[in-house]
């Protein structure tokens, strides 16, 4: 199994380790619920160095990305990031990712760990010859600092002037403990937060500096999953994959139908706007969770399937995401979620599931 540069740190603080996309990753340190609530109320540090990073460079890089991604690249300012998708020719989601515009001729892409290799091949087969592609996934570690107190942590690390003007989905290059890093105000938790892209070998030193603060605690992938689930953010491989389009996933706002991109011709705007199924949130009546693969039943009829489900530490109830027949997808619709043995009563709910 692959290891991040912080693997030894996790082992030495007795993290519960678990396999994720071929990586030996920390699931939790003290407990998912505690780490989740600490992220919502204070600030947590996550090692997500397993994620992939690519660079595209050259005069044609911007035009290539315009064709490769569903979001608009033209008009992006340097120092901005944008969320979008790679689509298959059939309109299915190859991956969801964030593009960073460093300059007119240089872009960084941040992709999922489990799809890094697939994405690399996909980009290589679709990019122009004169655009250079580098997969730096093994050279760049990623530390996420997430939570309402993250601002003061970053001010302490990079200086107030570097941080105070940094808006959501903006990034900058800053110096942290003698190393140049890319710092973005992005995240996967729904809280104010930052992501730090740092050379692989420098990550342990930065981890130690951040974790030495009294208000910062480490959080694992378990809390990362429940945090994103409360916000209704999709997880690639669970809630979205090549079998679904961004329209079905309720993510049409990240698809610019006024430009051309791979997969667009399969996204007929009419049928795209009226999909047969749609990704919806649900909140259970009680604490019992409906897990991935449970069927969704409405008035005794099968109407969909659960793609993510877990106990929500903030709501103290089970929540999840499911695909449901669009005809029955109204908020508040009563649904029964079952694996044939256990049945959980729930209601369809608007995203985000956690209202702050």
């Amino acid at each position: 199994m692959k290891k991040t540069p912080l693997h030894q740190k996790h082992i030495s603080c007795d993290a519960k380790m678990s396999a994720f996309a071929g990586w030996d990753m920390p699931m939790y340190y003290t407990g998912i619920v505690e780490e989740h609530l600490h992220t919502r109320s204070a600030v947590s540090l996550f090692d997500v160095s397993h994620m992939g990073e690519f660079f595209l460079r050259g005069k044609g890089a911007s035009a290539d990305l315009e064709r490769l991604m569903t979001c608009r690249i033209d008009g992006m300012l340097p120092g901005r990031c944008r969320y979008g998708f790679f689509l298959s020719e059939e309109g299915g989601i190859v991956d969801d990712l964030i593009v960073f515009k460093i300059s007119d001729e240089e872009f960084m892409l941040v992709v999922n760990a489990g799809t890094t290799e697939k994405d690399r091949n996909w980009v290589l087969s679709n990019k122009s010859h004169d655009v250079s592609f580098t997969d730096v996934s093994g050279d760049i570690a990623k530390l996420d600092v997430q939570g309402p107190a993250s601002l003061s942590v970053l001010e302490g690390l990079a200086g107030k002037s570097a941080i105070e003007g940094l808006g959501r989905f903006c990034f900058t290059k800053v110096n942290m403990s003698g190393t140049e890093v890319i710092l973005s105000r992005t995240g996967y938790t729904g809280e104010t937060g930052y992501e730090i892209f740092i050379p692989w070998g420098k990550a342990p030193e930065l981890w130690d500096i951040i974790i030495s603060r009294d208000d910062v605690k480490p959080a694992g992938l378990g809390a990362r999953d429940t945090l994103r689930l409360e916000m209704g953010y999709p997880l690639y491989g669970n809630d979205i994959d090549e079998e679904v389009t961004p329209f079905e996933a309720g993510l049409a706002r990240f698809v610019d139908m006024d430009k051309d991109f791979i997969g667009k011709r399969s996204l007929n705007p009419v049928s795209g706007a009226i999909p047969g199924k749609i990704l919806s949130g649900f909140v259970s009546e009680g604490r019992r969770a409906a897990r991935k693969g449970f069927s969704v039943e409405i008035s005794g009829e099968k109407a969909g399937v659960v793609t993510s489900g877990a106990f929500s530490p903030s709501l103290k109830r089970a929540v999840g995401l499911c695909y449901v027949d669009k005809r029955y997808s109204a908020e508040g619709t009563r649904i029964a979620l079952t694996d044939g043995r256990v049945t959980v009563d729930a209601k369809l709910a608007k995203l985000p599931l956690l209202r702050k």
């Binding site: 619920v33 604490r287 019992r288 897990r291 530490p313 256990v342």
Partner: protein, 126 residues
């Protein structure tokens, strides 16, 4: 620490015998493996517990797992506290986090249960 005087199973349940009444819970090792416990599906009062049958289901944030009855009998009491505070299994697995009591109808299986020393040994080997 693993308490004296209890019996243990390979599935990491503990059993405390008092006459023909057995109190069942899960061990500190089991709760630690599960992580934060978020829900317990308790048996119905009066339900028949079969030896090796599922007597309760415990859910953690990430997954669900079963609790097996090591003995046959009838459920006479359930720990209602767990409906509101399932995390008691994490914080007090041998005391406040007990799951249910059964009146044992049959001694079969009793000799398969481990005592403290045997369970400690079992944990070391597993």
């Amino acid at each position: 620490m693993i308490p004296e005087g209890l019996k243990y199973t390979k599935e990491h349940e503990w059993i405390k015998m008092a006459g023909d009444e057995a109190t069942i819970g899960i061990t500190a090792h089991a709760q630690s493996e599960l992580g934060d416990i978020t829900f317990v599906d308790l048996p119905e009062m009066g339900a028949v517990a079969e030896r090796g049958g599922i007597v309760a289901t415990i859910e953690s944030v990430k997954a669900a797992s079963e609790v097996y009855s090591p003995l046959a009998g009838k459920v006479t009491e359930v720990n209602e506290l767990l409906n509101e505070a399932p995390e008691k299994i994490n914080s007090s697995p041998y005391d406040k986090g007990w799951i249910c009591k059964i009146t044992v109808s049959d001694d079969e299986g009793m000799d398969k249960l481990m005592d403290k020393a045997e369970y400690e040994d079992f944990l070391k080997k597993s």
